[in-house]
């Protein structure tokens, strides 16, 4: 009962702020609505007993990536709002139609899959269950034993992205 109330209210806030993100006129307001959206998603993770994901969401997403967005928005703050001249070749309503079709397709998939018998995941495809208890310990165990190679590749990816971002944003090369 309590979980239902929590879920519905969190879902309402998440979707509401997401709509505000894409419809706000002022870009800074858009970024702020995105932060609040991420904070509510982190609350949803706490409800799903994924505490590590929740704090990583706040720390990395809300506290790192969106700060980066805010910096860029403040640096490119134009005198004229960027959407004042409508490109005649753009068909905005076509985008809405395509998104509506996509939503219909996704809902159909979801409805169809819930009518099927709930089969567990193919157990041979899953990594073994971690022998430690506690959410952080389990994630850490998996990351350092079975998913070690993706972990190292991810760190290389971050290094490459960092170098790329620095070079792209420098004034003179």
């Amino acid at each position: 009962m309590g979980e239902a109330i929590a879920f519905y209210s969190l879902a309402a806030f998440i979707l509401g702020f997401a709509v505000l993100v894409i419809t706000a006129r002022n870009t800074v307001h858009s970024v702020l609505f995105l932060v609040v959206n991420f904070l509510f998603v982190a609350a949803l993770y706490v409800m799903l007993h994924a505490e590590f994901m929740a704090v990583i969401q706040v720390f990395v997403y809300a506290g790192g990536i969106v700060v980066l967005y805010l910096f860029v928005v403040m640096l490119v703050n134009l005198k004229r709002p960027p959407e004042v001249h409508a490109d005649p070749r753009r068909r905005g309503r076509l985008g809405l139609v395509v998104s509506g079709l996509l939503l219909a397709q996704l809902v159909a998939i979801a409805a169809y899959s819930t009518t099927q018998a709930a089969a567990g995941p193919a157990s041979r495809a899953l990594a073994p269950s971690p022998p430690v208890s506690g959410n952080v310990e389990q994630v850490g165990w998996l990351l350092y034993t079975h998913y070690l190679v993706p972990f190292e590749v991810a760190s290389m990816l971050l290094l490459v992205a960092m170098i790329g971002a620095i070079i792209l944003a420098k004034r003179e090369l």
Binding site: L32, V55, M74
Partner: protein, 339 residues
């Protein structure tokens, strides 16, 4: 019922009141300490030896006119001080103030919540606090605050990396992310972690000074530099919020340092039985004493050291502290496996 709702609410009220009162008197203490270092007396008029000065300050800020700049972004302008203050206060939810005590028939733990990711919670909440600075500068629609807030937030996020790396080495030492667990692991190890990780402690102290925009890293808000920094256009209660947020951040950094490095509520040398006579001091008093020592060190540094220039500050953060902190993590990891 009583221990799910009433006791935590009571604890929250006590902690909030204590922190806000502490912040108010920390302002007075700062003025007094800096005055004594400079061989003068500080506030002396309001009440005996200036004891009532914070009340006078609070009253003044409360009654001041609340000015909003002409073309400021009104909602963001109002929200920025709140975004600055709230993260500084909610960190106290995970800080353990002492051992369990028995009150009203049940054992009451002396912390509001013991979450299993306590340390990460503190770091993530601190990273939300950066928004207060950025939004204050942006929404004031004025060039001094904008420049200063960009500098302040760049400083904050740079030193956040170094501080997080030192916290990672503490996680390695303690083996757990929960704050209560870290204090317990120091009790089991029988020594405060500051003796095991002096480098991490030094980096944390320097990073903590930079995180709270305190001297010598207070370029973003120094009066001689950018008029007032990011809170130039704020007055009255909103300025009071920024003021409170800065001093509350100081207390937060001290509290986290005490919990991680100085053994939280443990007495000195908790493993040595010969010093068991020190247990007569209640545990929360040890905690407050240690925080007080830290705060005095903060104030002492402010009274003594000159200000860092911005590029010197960034150079220190990126080129010295971060490599040192990462090296510390690597060495800690190796020693943990070897020893």
């Amino acid at each position: 019922m009583i221990d799910i709702v009433v006791i935590p609410l009571l604890k929250i009220v006590i902690v909030l009141v204590a922190v806000l009162a502490g912040v108010a008197y920390l302002v007075l203490l700062e003025r007094k300490v800096i005055a004594w270092v400079q061989v003068r007396l500080g506030p002396m008029r309001v009440g005996p030896h200036g004891i009532l000065q914070p009340i006078a300050d609070g009253l003044k800020l409360f009654l001041k006119e609340d000015i909003t700049p002409a073309r400021a972004d009104r909602w963001v302008y109002t929200a920025a001080p709140i975004i600055s203050l709230v993260p500084a206060l909610i960190v106290f939810a995970v800080i353990p103030f002492g051992r369990d005590v028995s009150l009203f028939g049940t054992t009451v733990p002396l912390h509001i919540a013991d979450i299993n990711v306590g340390l990460l919670y503190i770091v993530s909440v601190a990273s939300i606090g950066v928004y207060g600075l950025i939004l204050a500068g942006y929404s004031s629609n004025s060039k001094y605050p904008l420049l200063s807030s960009l500098r302040a937030s760049a400083q904050l996020i740079s030193y956040e990396v170094a501080v997080t790396m030192t916290l990672v080495s503490m996680i390695l030492m303690a083996g757990t992310l929960s704050m209560v667990g870290i204090v317990e692991s120091q009790r089991e190890a029988g020594l405060w972690f500051v003796f095991a990780q002096p480098v991490a402690f030094a980096i944390y102290m320097i990073g903590g000074l930079a995180e709270t925009n305190r001297a010598p890293f207070d370029l973003p808000e120094a009066e001689q530099e950018l008029v007032g920094g990011f809170h130039t256009e704020y007055s009255g209660m909103r300025f009071a919020f920024f003021f409170l947020a800065e001093y509350a951040n100081m207390i937060v950094i001290s509290a986290v340092a005490v919990t991680l490095f100085l053994g939280g509520w443990l007495r000195p040398f908790p493993g040595v039985d010969a010093l068991a006579f020190l247990d007569v001091v209640p545990v929360w008093m040890w905690f407050l004493l240690k925080i007080f020592v830290f705060l005095l060190v903060f104030l002492w540094i402010r009274a003594t050291l000159p200000r860092y220039r911005y590029d010197q500050l960034m150079r220190l953060g990126w080129k010295v502290l971060i490599p040192l902190a990462i090296a510390n993590v690597v060495v800690t990891g190796i020693l943990k496996v070897v020893l």
